[in-house]
Symmetry: C2
Subunit: 158 residues, 2 copies
DNA sequence: CGCAATTCAATTGCGCACAACTCAGTGGCG
DNA sequence: CGCCACTGAGTTGTGCGCAATTGAATTGCG
């Protein structure tokens, strides 16, 4: 249980809350917009790109593992993977050992796309306009806040 | 135009990109999850809460102004405002001076909801588990990166 | 004045996020 | 062995975000 910092007026707290949620929302969508442009000619959306990153790094994976890495459930992944499959980038096969599990793997086209996608990170980092140290600090703050939010026990406002 | 920092291997840049986009995505959804719980009993989603915040602060506003504040277009706001209207929280009326414009205002129920929503910021800040200075730093980084991303000229990867 | 360009809201279509549910396959336990 | 709880993927329904388009109202310019 986290205690609140004393000495700040309610008004200031309210403002900070609004600023945090506004700015996080805005940043998230600004990133999305840049990724959308970067990925346009690759035929990938941003979430699809995240899935491809995981597959490029780790090879064949069951849907379950992909979901764990990206914090996505089957309700999001199932249709997304079907789109990647019909785009010819990905294979999906029932596992032989466990027929409940579906293994996702790259097609040759999916693997080949990695070359072109190699340009993406460099361009994205350049577009942020921040030095690498600041980006590292940002990442560190985001991870801390995410961990805290995930473990926080939150009650609905009555 | 921002130059890339020298002395970092491509591999490290790639990793940082992945870490940044992973962690921003995760943070955004972690916030969303906490807000979802906090707002459940108020009958508001997180974007609806943002709209209500704007109205609570500024009173009646045309759709256009709300969109400017929240960086949302009519494609998002129109259905959202209709849901707030059918929930009885908001009025929508064509402006008399300019018949193209629709002015959005609070109903008595919408205004009354502000009382209960007053608990939200406090609880959210507590759930982040970060001291206020860190949150301010986070906000500052997010705003800088958003500004840079918005003004960046980005070309699709060929 | 009259026509063209612009503005504002709404609508349509697509993809993602999440909750709730279904259904088949698996594994444990009596 | 047979039953039952659990697991993994998929489906459905709701809401958001964005691009593209529509249609009405307004503005500007010749």
């Amino acid at each position: 249980m986290t205690t609140l910092p004393p000495g700040l007026a309610d008004e200031e707290l309210l403002r900070l809350d609004q600023q945090i949620c506004f700015s996080l929302n805005a940043a998230s969508r600004a990133f999305g917009g840049v990724y959308r442009v970067l990925l346009r000619d690759l035929g990938l959306t941003y979430p699809q790109y995240l899935v491809m990153l995981v597959l490029w790094e780790s090879g064949d994976l069951p849907v379950k593992r992909i979901g764990e890495r990206l914090r996505l459930d089957s309700g999001t992944l199932s249709p997304l993977l079907k789109r990647l499959e019909s785009a010819g980038l990905v294979r999906r096969e029932r596992s032989a050992e466990d027929e409940r599990s579906v293994t996702v793997g790259l097609t040759p086209e999916g693997s080949a796309l990695r070359e072109r996608a190699g340009q993406v990170p460099r361009r994205l980092l350049a577009a942020t306009g921040l030095p690498v140290e600041d980006l590292a600090a940002l990442r560190e703050l985001l991870e801390r806040v995410t961990g805290a939010l995930d473990s926080a026990v939150v009650e609905p406002v009555p």
